[in-house]
């Protein structure tokens, strides 16, 4: 009897253990990318091999899965991609060439050819193909990853890491599944090298990339990075990978520590400096963010990516317009169709009192992007500064019509109407702005004043009382309330 009770309790304990294991496995699988789950025996084998860290074996199994699906006519992707995934390179090449004959700048066809070249170990062809794509579209993620893989296969580790950093710096990853499986294969190849020949820093960075598809790879990335640092294999790149993974894991202090070590190893490591900028900016430390952005820009002055970050911190965070002006002028000159650069330069000119120049920037920007409400708001501000009243109102109205739920446009128009003593219209816009989520309580006082000017003293008093409930020490509300109450009393006594 006693044995039976113990047996039952053991069974219960086992059930609890099984539930816990199930829970953690489910949690682990939930943060893995769909690409890793392929509905077939080979697909499951691929997942199992991937889970035990056999990336090469996993890639082979996945390829077998795609081959079987391809042979059975179940492709699921466009024909060229399906052929690539199945390893039917001749077929993929033929399809891509067919597309390029009709459309010589088709990026996907170019990428297919580059992938075929990679599979056939024609690395110079890969680089030539990706170079063409990158000329058509700067920092195209698939092309950069293929470049990185080609460099990795030819032991050009620095170039491989650099290309991968460029891929990820925009927060984008390669969109082609074939590249993901090729990365698994290459990473597996690199791990299969003799221990003393493994490019540890590159492996750390490739696992950093694979972390995006499966968070568990973050731990492996850090492990490789630590080993790279220990063995002196590109410690700056290793620390960078470590820092980024820590940052993604929500460990900002550890991330910063690693990034600063990367910078210590290589003070001109633009990417490490840029990540330092990002971490500092995220926690609101503008001073250090600025120093990092400045150093990144100086380390790579020809790269507009770092220049843009420096401008962001200078213009929108610090308001250091004099320092930003020449940088932005250069940015607009080099990329005249960038509305972001035009916006920034227009804003800076406005802040420096160069209203005509500011207006010209925003006029050019709205021509380039006529559906951008924010640009119309800025155009409105510019026109308002030049006292072109009707045009300013029209610009604000255009911003509202482009995005009626954007409270900022309503606030901008309300403030402009207030200045023009058009309180009835201003009141409507204030009300709409607050309805849409305007958070600034200081603007509520303006709304209360509008009611007062329109003779609705009761509403104005209530409005000010609301302000004072939120902020008991609001001087403007305290100052106005007795005056408006007096008017209300007079109005009531008259009635």
């Amino acid at each position: 009897m006693a044995a039976s009770v113990t047996y039952k309790k053991m069974r219960l304990l086992l059930a609890i253990v099984a539930a816990v294991v199930y829970f953690f496995t489910k949690q682990h699988l939930a943060q893995m990318d769909d690409w890793l789950f392929q509905p077939s025996w080979q697909g499951s084998k691929g997942l199992a091999l991937y889970s035990v860290g056999n990336l090469n074996g996993a890639a082979t199994a996945y390829r077998a899965h795609f081959k079987a699906a391809y042979d059975a006519g179940r492709v699921g992707y466009d024909p060229a991609m399906a052929a690539l995934l199945a390893g039917e390179h001749a077929q993929a090449k033929e399809l891509a060439l067919g597309i390029l004959a009709k459309e010589p700048d088709d990026i996907q066809a170019e990428l297919t050819l580059a992938e075929v070249a990679l599979a056939e170990r024609r690395y110079s062809d890969v680089l030539e193909g990706t170079k063409h794509v990158l000329n058509l579209r700067t920092d195209q993620a698939d092309a950069l990853m293929l470049t990185s893989l080609a460099f990795a296969q030819t032991q050009h580790v620095d170039e491989a890491i650099d290309a991968m950093n460029r891929t990820l710096r925009h927060g984008r990853i390669a969109s082609r599944p074939s590249i993901f499986f090729r990365l698994l294969e290459t990473t597996g190849d690199l791990e299969d090298l003799p221990r003393d020949q493994r490019p540890l820093a590159l492996l750390a960075n490739y696992y950093r990339y694979l972390r995006i598809h499966d968070e568990a790879n973050g731990r492996t990335a850090i492990r490789y990075a630590k080993r790279a640092v220990r063995t002196g294999d590109r410690p700056a790149d290793a620390y960078l990978a470590m820092g980024i993974v820590y940052e993604k894991q929500g460990k900002p202090d550890q991330a910063l520590d690693a990034l600063l070590k990367a910078i210590e190893q290589n003070p001109n490591h633009a990417e490490a400096l840029d990540w330092g900028y990002r971490v500092y900016l995220k926690r609101g430390d503008l001073l250090n963010a600025y120093h990092m952005a400045r150093a990144a820009f100086e380390a790579a002055p020809a790269d507009p990516f770092y220049e843009q970050h420096l401008n962001t911190v200078l213009v929108t965070r610090l308001g250091n317009f004099r320092e930003a002006e020449p940088l932005l002028e250069r940015a607009v000159q080099s990329t005249p169709t960038s509305t972001h650069a035009l916006w920034s330069l227009g804003y800076v000119y406005g802040m420096l009192g160069k209203d005509q120049e500011s207006l010209a920037c925003f006029q050019r920007a709205v021509q380039l992007d006529p559906n951008n409400a924010e640009l119309y708001e800025e155009l409105g501000h510019s026109l308002a500064r030049l006292r072109r009243k009707d045009e300013a109102v029209a610009a604000y109205r255009q911003a509202i019509s482009l995005n009626p739920s954007r409270y900022q446009s309503h606030t901008a128009l309300a403030l402009y109407y207030t200045k023009q003593f058009r309180h009835r219209e201003a009141l409507q816009e204030y009300e709409m702005a607050f309805h849409l989520g305007e958070p600034k309580d200081s603007l509520r006082v303006q709304m209360c004043i509008a009611s007062h000017v329109l003779g609705d003293f009761q509403r104005s008093v209530e409005c000010l009382q609301t302000v004072l409930t939120r902020d008991q020490k609001n001087e403007a509300a305290r100052h106005l309330l007795p005056q408006i109450r007096h008017n209300l009393d007079l109005q009531r006594s008259k009635l």
């Binding site: 202090d253 004099r322 003593f421 020490k473 007079l490 109005q491």
Partner: protein, 363 residues
Amino acid sequence: MMARGLPGTLQRVLYRYRNPLAFRYGALLGLMYVGCCVQLDYRRPGVSTAWLTWTGTGLSALSFLLLVNAFYGQRQAGDRVHQTFRWIQRTATVLMALFITYSALLYVNGRFDQSVPTEQPAEILTITRTNLPGGIFGPVSMATVRIAEHPEDTHAVLLAGTEPSKLWPGEPVLIHRRAGTLGLSWVSRIERDEEQYWKKVLAQMPESADPWKRLIVFYFQHHRPKDAALAATRYFEIRTDDYEYACDVAGTLAVHGMTQEARALLEPFAEQRPDYWMYDVLASLFHRLGDHSKALKLFHAAIELDPENPQAYFELGYLYKDMSRFEEAIAMFKKVLQYRPIFPEMEEQIQLMQAQVAARSHH
């Protein structure tokens, strides 16, 4: 009895595994959880911080042992394992009761606290991010701070809410301390000491507009208009073209009674860039300062720029009243009514002025 209405299988499960000890520890653990939340919400700096994290760890380990005991609690009395568990059980119950009572005290102390927070300047020395056991509470961060008043002492304090992501070692902070209903001082908020931080930024980048503006806003929000005026003066020495902001700051200074400072700030801009609101605000400042002739000149200049805006007429009416030029005051107030027909104050003023005029003519 309670299980009578339940399906047979569930009844059997409940019967088989019912265990008063398990329920008791379940309830105690629930209260422990609430207690931990209370201690995070109404945190006390110093010893209790360390207590909370270590107590949490210890009690989680104990709770596991007790749950095992609850399963195997049917051992014979006198069994050594049974006796050990009984000892652990009693000790743990006392510890849990103490923890819960302390949490309840902190709740009463903080929840009904009506005191005004005092801001204590400090510097964060270290931040340790840890996970409380079991991941029940998520990551918890503990900071070591050095209070500016007593730089020789350091204190430990838990960071709550979004504080861990916004604070960092070496950062100047303001610790909002409250007295507590029961006299146990507690920390309601820790925020960056904006004044120290922006001053530090400006020491390196004095030409940056935003840090100056943030500093000025900070001073106004903390009801320190004199400091705001000083910061604004420094800012406008660097940014001589930011006239819109000058109007805003001058207006706010005037509301805070800093008329002289507001005038000094605005006057250079009026010469540089004629603007209705600039003239109006500056004229009002001169009026307040008793320089009626300058005020008069500026109000007229404003009206010239925008004759359909009643603001300047309104102010000018009161200026004329103060100058005992009642007929002109009446004319101005009538002008206001032309643009703002519902304005009883103006009608009242007109009546008062008319009475003054009548009295004067009677004399």
